[in-house]
């Protein structure tokens, strides 16, 4: 069972505060989505979590131990970065052996099997791989690492539709076979929405939501219909975004129960927002 704890975590780059006072506790073995717009602080958070960056303020602990200069703890975490961190002249096969040195639980046979299934040529040099195959290569290292915490930063970068599906399925199969913490940072929300159990939404360096996906979706609903009637409905209610098309209006209401009787009497439609729509509404800087 893993426990990740971030306390009052801040990171400043010069004048920019990339993360602001983040408090976050992740417990148990789950697939978690780390969602945020570009520049929201997702990668900074992952870099801090794996001690690739030093926090300006605050603490990071995994299973109760600080991560900074703590190889024992970091050995339980595999971080698939968007950047390429392997020497380019290294061959894929050698990268497997190299990873096995740092991760004693590395499953070479499974890694090779994945390479076959994804048609990744293990005799190729890392620098010769296309963007898509570079992602596949890094994802395979993560899946085979045997680590109890897997962090994926934009894992499907450059992958075609078939390979994206294969990878999502493999992440699920891998998680079911060996339950672990899987954190997927991505902006492709629609694609990952259904494989997630929990989401963390970061906006401008702050964690604005952290809860089970189902609970988040149940906390909001969409109301649409004639604009003046929608306005009447949302009076005194907390709402996020609005889409307007002449006299038609659609609004996402957050919190509180649906007043079906009122909606019906006003001739309004009530719907369930998709995770992506809700995400956009929550992180839209115009609100």
């Amino acid at each position: 069972m893993s426990r990740i704890e971030l306390r009052s975590l801040s990171k400043r780059y010069g004048q920019t505060l990339a993360l602001k006072q983040v408090d976050l506790t992740l417990e148990g073995q789950k697939i978690v989505g780390l969602l945020g717009r570009n520049g929201a602080g997702k990668t900074t958070l992952l870099n801090l979590l794996t001690a690739k960056l030093h926090p300006t303020e605050g603490t990071i602990a995994i299973d109760g131990e600080p991560v900074w200069e703590n190889d024992a703890v970091l050995g339980r975490v595999f971080y698939m970065t968007e950047a390429n961190l392997h020497p380019g002249s290294l061959r894929v096969r050698e990268a497997f052996q190299w990873t096995a040195q740092f991760y004693p639980g590395f499953r070479t046979a499974y890694g090779e099997e994945l390479a076959r299934r994804f048609e990744l040529d293990t005799s190729k040099r890392v620098k010769e791989l296309s963007t898509g195959y570079s992602s596949i290569f890094k994802a395979i290292l993560a899946l085979a690492s045997g680590a109890s915490i897997l962090l994926f930063d934009e894992p499907v970068l450059g992958l075609d539709a078939n390979h994206r599906e294969m990878l999502y399925r493999e992440i699920l199969a891998n998680y079911i076979e060996e339950p672990k913490v899987v954190i997927i940072s991505t902006h492709l929300i629609d694609e990952v929405a259904d494989i997630l159990e929990e989401v963390i939404i970061i906006d401008k360096g702050r964690v604005i939501r952290h809860q089970p996906v189902e609970e988040l979706l149940e906390s909001a609903y969409a109301v649409s219909g004639e604009a003046s009637k929608v306005d009447q409905y949302i009076q005194g209610r907390n709402y996020l975004s609005e889409e307007r098309l002449q006299n038609f209006k659609s609004v996402i209401v957050v919190g509180g129960a649906v007043d079906r009787a009122l909606a019906k009497s006003l001739g309004l439609e009530i719907g369930r927002p998709e995770l992506q729509k809700l995400f956009i509404a929550l992180t839209n800087s115009n609100v």
Partner: protein, 125 residues
């Protein structure tokens, strides 16, 4: 089994309904084993907790039952039970929206009945 990810329904309810549909169609026969939550999760690309929640919904209703160490099976009488439940929902799920649409279009009740009667023989082809 197919899920409509654009639906208004939570995924676990869609999964339960899709399994019910397969039972009604005989794709999942009574007293046969249904796919495991692992298979459902990986094939449908949904979180295993969601798959478990959907399956448990049917276990709670007695449509599926657990054989220890083997897996989930379709209960005897599941088809009949699903039909009974769906019949009870038929008015709300189909007749109410039908009448609402008819009203929007000024289609009279007589015309609606006429259309239903016209549709019936075709259905039996």
């Amino acid at each position: 089994m197919r899920l409509d990810f654009d639906s208004e329904q939570p995924i676990y309810i869609q999964l339960a309904e899709a399994m019910e549909d397969d039972i009604l169609k005989g794709i999942l026969a009574e007293e046969t084993q249904v796919p495991s939550t692992t298979e459902l999760s990986v094939v449908l690309k949904i979180n295993p907790a969601t798959a478990r929640k959907g399956v448990n919904l049917l276990v709670d209703e007695g449509i599926l039952y657990k054989k220890r160490g083997v897996g989930m099976f379709v209960a005897r009488g599941a088809q009949r039970q699903i039909k009974k439940k769906r019949r009870a929902q038929f008015y709300q799920s189909f007749v109410v929206p039908l009448l609402a649409e008819a009203q929007k279009l000024n289609v009279s009740t007589g015309e609606v009945i006429e259309m239903i009667e016209r549709g019936l023989p075709d259905e039996q082809d």
